[in-house]
């Protein structure tokens, strides 16, 4: 059934419409980023620029300390990722494999953390950092995310599935607990670690809310904030410059998505949050 030519045609048109709704805004972003100011102010709009205005990208990049923003973004995202791996792997291992007093209590504490979004606690955390004199530093962007309840939850699941006999055999061979983690647990949990890593990196690379709250000066601000600031140019919004600036933020993620589509989709779909 359903292989008739009208059906196929209808199905094809439908698919084309759906893809356009989701892809065309990005095409429009690219097209706008190469236009001249005049070409953004014609109605009906010009589909393609007459000539490619590459200078929009340099104009966007030079409108602020974008190299600093870029470095901060990379530094913050990578630092968070490394710290998260360092804190979640041992914690997940302890929760998965050890019996100890308070095990249930501490795991419940971890799970409570999972339900607290940054949008809820920014005010008290801001006051705390202010008391410590750490406001407007990269510490304020990194420390709160140095561990991840969600990462512990995911990793604990996969650590639990490793058969106990395997660990016993390793212990008999004289392997230390750290060696067991490094040589047995991490290799087995590698897909979960990659999934979590992609999720974490993309989330913090894109983050606008937390750095907006915690930083005030250009030295500590990240790329999303720098891009958002492009709106505040004098003499109205310059859409061609704005879109060029956003390309700087979007293109790296789209390139990664192109090559690791399967892993990224799994990272976000099976992690289920956001």
């Amino acid at each position: 059934m359903n292989t008739t030519i009208p059906y196929k045609l209808l199905n094809g048109i439908g698919i084309l419409i759906v893809v356009s709704i989701f892809a065309f805004p990005f095409v429009w972003m690219i097209s706008t980023s190469f236009k001249s100011l005049g070409e953004t102010m014609i109605f009906p709009p010009a589909w393609l620029p007459e000539s490619l205005h590459w200078e929009n990208f340099t104009a966007a990049w030079n409108s602020g300390p974008f190299l600093t923003y870029f470095k901060n973004s990379i530094f913050v995202s990578i630092s968070i990722l490394i710290l998260q791996f360092l804190t979640i792997i041992p914690a997940a291992y302890a929760f998965a494999r050890y019996q100890f007093k308070g095990n249930k209590f501490f795991f419940a504490l971890t799970m409570i953390t999972l339900m607290i979004p940054a949008q809820l606690i920014f005010l008290p955390v801001y006051l705390q950092f202010s008391a410590w004199g750490l406001l407007d530093t990269l510490w304020a962007l990194i420390l709160p995310f140095a561990s991840s309840a969600f990462g512990i939850f995911l990793l604990r699941q996969s650590f639990k599935q490793v058969p106990e006999e395997l660990l016993e055999a390793a212990r008999l061979d004289g392997a230390s607990e750290w060696k067991i983690i490094l040589k047995i647990m991490i290799p087995i949990a590698k897909p979960v670690l990659i999934t979590f890593g992609l999720f974490s990196f993309i989330t913090h690379w894109n983050d606008y809310f937390w750095p907006l709250v915690m930083t005030t000066s250009d030295v500590t601000r990240t790329l999303p904030l720098g891009i958002a600031k492009l709106r505040e140019v004098e003499g109205g919004v310059a859409w061609h410059i704005l879109m060029a600036g956003n390309m700087i933020l979007v293109i790296p993620i789209l390139i990664v998505f192109f090559f690791a589509q399967r892993q990224i989709i799994r990272a976000f779909v099976y992690t289920g949050i956001k």
Binding site: F22, A23, A94, T113, E177, M243, G272, I273
Partner: protein
Amino acid sequence: MTWNKIRPYLMISPAILVFSLFFIYPICYMIYLSMHDWNFVSPEKNFVGTANFTNLVSEKEFIEVMQNTFVYTALTVSLTIIIALILAVWLNKSGTIYGFVQGAIFSPHIISLVSISMLWMWLMDTDYGLLNWFLNLFGLPSVPWLTDPSTSLLSLAIVAIWKGIGFNTLIFIAGLQSIPRDIYEAAALDGTNRIRTFIKLTLPMLSPTLFFLTIIGIINSFQVFETISIMTQGGPINSTNTFVYYIYEYGFRFFKIGYASAAGVILLVIISIFTIMYFRLLARRVHYQ
């Protein structure tokens, strides 16, 4: 051996320290602050009991904020789920084309909300925006999407729906694929038509997925901030001011810390209710995998 007894605590301590300092303690501090009057600068924090809460719920602006948040959440969650369900049933096929389509509708999900917001501000521009050009093409008048209080909240919902559809569709597809094939074969043998099969069979089998997406949709919509901060700043005339944006403004612009904290506590209660539901479900999902 004592070392074996200490080791688990050592292994969890870095994570527990981070959670205690940056999540558990702040929540307690926020509850404490919600019962005080403080302007951030003064050394005195005056205890006012529940006054912040009673003032808050009797204030016209806060009631509007609550209404806006509820309307936005209801619109976003219901429409996203309905559209995603339709797309999932349609696109749940194997093959390169369908893989590509699934990737395309998912792509907005991994793009920064900063870029999404700016892109849609441009598309929704009243004078030069592509959306109004499209409406005019069909002889429809231009819409002042973000600049009119009657359409601004809906416009923000459209952006959220566009961003969320891909994620929801892929979760639905995963749900559809976990339904055993032989149930459908039995239905086909009975000669049940497709719409009846969908209502009587597919929908009940998908109900855990449906419930899951509804809850996380509600939790996420209640926290909306970025699109509002970039696209409308809560305006025009307070029409897009929602919970988190309100807390942000009262904390950082008006320095009414007690007031902002009280609003935070109310949001905490609402989110907690839905999160407890979410956890019950998450435990079940993981169990099944």
